[in-house]
Symmetry: C2
Subunit: 132 residues, 2 copies
DNA sequence: TTTTTACTTTAAAATCGTTCTAAACTACTT
DNA sequence: AAGTAGTTTAGAACGATTTTAAAGTAAAAA
């Protein structure tokens, strides 16, 4: 499926700007990035785009499930092209994230989900400190 | 141990402002809060404090291990008085966090820690959606 | 096609949470 | 009591993100 179809499938108009971003993000390679990272890549691909458009687009992509936003207490929002359930190592010093595939963690026992709610995803974060 | 001793124990001077905040936070009751939440409580306790002092104090308290900061992609930093390893439910709609005690989750299998690092804490986040 | 409509992009301003600055203050040491 | 090192403060500054409102564009209707 090409990017135009991917966008149409989730109900987004394939505008010029969204296609440029889709080309960068939806190529099957998993990665973490910020809005600023993405703008730099757009620029170095010979294109340019308002930062407002980049934020609009990332929010739409996220809400449509094309990308994920990582739970992180960094000041800048971090996005992830890996939309499957998976987990992360976090280098507490640098903020760097490393993917952990879902199968590498086995959650043997889970607590009861509060009444009226359903589980919509489990994320495990393993924080790391450099060994001394 | 009283609050003055708690502060001294971690190498912090027990100033008037830190004692006010310690009285609110270090009373054994576990809770989540933001800097703004805390300022409101300080105000309604009849005291007042510069927002800069509140941020300074929260950062010091966190760095000294008196409180924790929650990994969350909310725009505002969320702190937690529960400093034991534990986990959270997250209501994705409202952002509300509910504690999950450490014993309620059993991580049966963990991935190998990357070379040169040590595990400095595991946080599990169970995201919740309201049942329809 | 052409026209219409709804959605999208944009630069610039605004907002929000947080940090910085530098002067006044205070806890602790001498 | 005096010195000094750490702390508090208001207000300015900052950085990430959102809003604004006007211009542009994709899709639908005619």
């Amino acid at each position: 499926m090409n990017n135009k179809e991917k966008l149409r499938n989730v109900g987004l108009r394939p505008t010029k700007q969204r296609m440029i971003i889709a080309k960068i993000l939806l190529n099957g390679v998993n990665r973490h990035f910020t809005a600023e990272n993405l703008q730099n890549e757009i620029n170095s691909s010979g294109n340019s785009m308002s930062i407002a458009t980049i934020y609009n687009c990332l929010k739409k992509f996220r809400n449509c499930g094309l990308i994920k936003q990582v739970e992180s207490s960094k000041e800048t929002a971090i996005f992830d092209t890996n939309i499957n359930q998976h987990h992360h190592f976090l280098d507490e010093e640098t903020g760097e994230l490393i993917d952990i595939e879902n199968e590498e963690i086995n959650l043997f026992k889970l607590p009861e989900i509060p009444k009226g709610y359903v589980n919509s995803g489990v994320e495990v974060l393993i924080k790391l400190r450099r060994q001394i």
